[in-house]
Amino acid sequence: MSQFSRRGLLKTGAAAGVIAATGLPAKSAAKRGGKLRMGLNGANTSDSFDGRTHSDQFMIHMGHGTVFDCLTEVTASGELVGELAESWEASSDAKTWTFNLRKGVTFHNGKSFGADDVIASLSMHTEEGAKSAAKPIVAAITEMKKMNDHQIQFTLSAGNADFPFLLSDYHILMYPAGMIDEAIAKGIGTGLYKVVSFDPGVRCVLARVDSHYKDGRAGWFDEIECIAINDSSARMNALMTGQVDAVNRVDFKTEPLLRANPNIEIFEVTGNMQYTFPMLTNQAPFNDINVRKALKYGIDRQEMVDKILQGHGMIGNDHPIGPANQYLATEIPQIELDLDKAKFHMKEAGLTELNVELSASDAAFTGAVDASQLYQASAKSAGININVVQEPADGYWSNVWLKKGWCACYWSGRATEDWMFSTAYESGVPWNDTHWENARFQELLLTARAELDSNKRREQYTEMQLICSQEGGTIIPMFANTVDAASTKLAHGPDIGNIWQMDSSRLTERWWFA
């Protein structure tokens, strides 16, 4: 397990909770040819090639890595490499970054790619009224200076060692400057595949470009047809009957049936998707650290993985860093169900009995209500009475999350530690769903952000994970796997990306027909 972090964690056996870091062997050398048919969920009639609006699997996959490219890319094994950027360099305070762009790259309409395109594409996210999820990333850039056609210098408002990493985000696609509206409407990017036809919420047909800078490394299919199949049974049927070659989001309930089919390979990775129970730490009783600790020891994490995820996941340790991050600390002590410790902390808090309400809805995650009831049962013997309040799924995120004292929630995770912590754990940020504040944690967050030495960063992030795990206000019982499936006619490299579904949404470029 030496390469534990950021490796595709593939679970090959059905044994619950056993995670072996074994990549599946490549079946043959990659070769060109064939038409890939893919069935994906998460498609909507309102879909478009505007990266700023991408949030669901269908467009994430069609966008970055298929029709468009980003400046940087995270490989299947987790290294950061250049995509449209060839190399980059930071000043010692991590505030000024110089990027060298790849030369000789052209968009699908023949326009050549250069520094102006980068500036225009990044500016899209901070335009007046733009509702881009990547806005905070781009807003941190105070100046974009074009040094020459293929070199660009960014100045950040504060040092950020993760800056090149953040540019691999699927929202930050590169568009041709001056024709961005047209590029969004028609899907004109620099990717391996160009759009033949696109019917939002229905299907997308793509063809391989004749020549590409990734030739010989990626982009093996001649044609791709991506079909929107939002209904999970229909998606599984399509794969079973051979109408598509690959599908995402395998339903845990039908997974054994797919596994029994010799023509289907299930690929499963543990990423950063986590199911959580945040409590507002500025409200009684959760403002008492002993109450939080008693609650942490009152939950049976393994039971959650076994029953709620049916084995497709791993237990969490109350900090949000997962296997798809660089600095997951595996050495910090794992919190387990321990009723004696829970009772001890109850006594420390001066309580013999604790009555709390836990708001849950399946809007938070599939099985959230069941998970809350399991929690209720396991905590009961420690004198903790959890009253599970079932909330309506509609409006859950507006009316319950961040409003009720304790509720169920999920996070899809973030590619970097800093991004995750500063989204939901930094004091004062709007999505800090526990209102938690910790001086040491805050100090480490700021130093680690600008630290370029990765050994020092590892130490800092490890300490932060420890503080979070022991004192934080979020209970994170489990990390859910992404489970996808494909026909055995397809082959792939030794690693499978774990940042997003479908080989980090790059199946179209990384896989081939054996």
């Binding site: 069935g39 909507n44 009639t45 309102s46 478009s48 505007d50 700023r52 609006t53 949030s55 335009e127 007046e128 009224g129 733009a130 509702k131 881009s132 999820a133 509206d181 969004i184 409407a185 019917d199 919420g201 229905v202 299907r203 079909i227 929107a228 199949i229 939002n230 209904d231 049974s233 229909a234 049927n237 399509a238 079973m240 009957t241 051979g242 109408q243 598509v244 309506p392 509609d394 409006g395 995120w397 507006s398 999350w401 929630c409 999920y410 709007p430 999505w431």
Partner: protein, 329 residues
Amino acid sequence: MGSIFQIILQRLALGALTLQIVSIVIFVAVNALPGDFAQAILGQGATDEAVAQIRADLGLDQNYFTRYFSWLVNVLTGNLGISFAQMNFASNMGGDQLVGVVEQIAPRFKATMFLAGVTAIFAVPISITLGVLAALYRNSIFDRAVNITTLSSISSPEFFLAYILILVLAVLNPIFPSLSNVYEGMALGEKLNRTMLPALTLTLVVTAHMMRMTRAAIINLLASPYIEMARLKGISPMRVIVRHALPNALAPIINVIALNLAYLITGVVVVEVVFVYPGIGQLFVDSVKIRDIPVVQACCLIFAAAYILLNLMADILSILSNPRLRHPK
């Protein structure tokens, strides 16, 4: 014949009124659901400012009356509006290439009509034939078998029938594809092949109603004196039914066929989702999910109009098929 036109005009006027009432009911119902477009589209990102921003962009912050009447005025001028999803997208892009609700629905509606048409081509002749045969051999084993089969299929939920058909005809015996993703420009043969399973499912759902009505209407007539007369003349039972009883039983049969055809257009939601058929039903489900009121309203108006027009057509046809109604005193 003048009276028929009078009836048509009168019914069309009533239909328009019905449509308006439907639109009010839908508007109230969608607004009564918890959550709105802004919350649905933002999901976990629904911070108060973001929700308020989207509501302001889409005019969702205005009161119900203003919103409903501005929509109504647009519809009366032939403009079904622009979906919230498109408008939200435009306010994000600053672009102007908006797809109206009409352009969004048109291809989906065509697909749904195609599916309804294919189903009707199967279902109507099959149910009438079965109904006639069941009346002819009433209380025989054949009659009972047909009744039991069609009644069980109408009593099962559509998705259950759909999955059984997928299991039998797509997984165990790969005859038809389980995915019905038809698209514009597909060859007709291929399109038919892919439409087969949803069409069969719908056939199973609508057959019982039409077949039972045909059977009942004919049996009802078999007791009348003129049928007895025909029998006494020595005409074969088949001819008695087809030549003498059926024409007089047409009115109720036409009515029930119209009702079922309307169902084929409006009731396909579940079937379309199961088979991934890109029809209006899927669009409807997507839109309700995100509370996209302009699209939901447009779909509902289409559904309601289908019922009204098909019922009107049924009434006219039954008048035409009955000389007594054609020449009222």
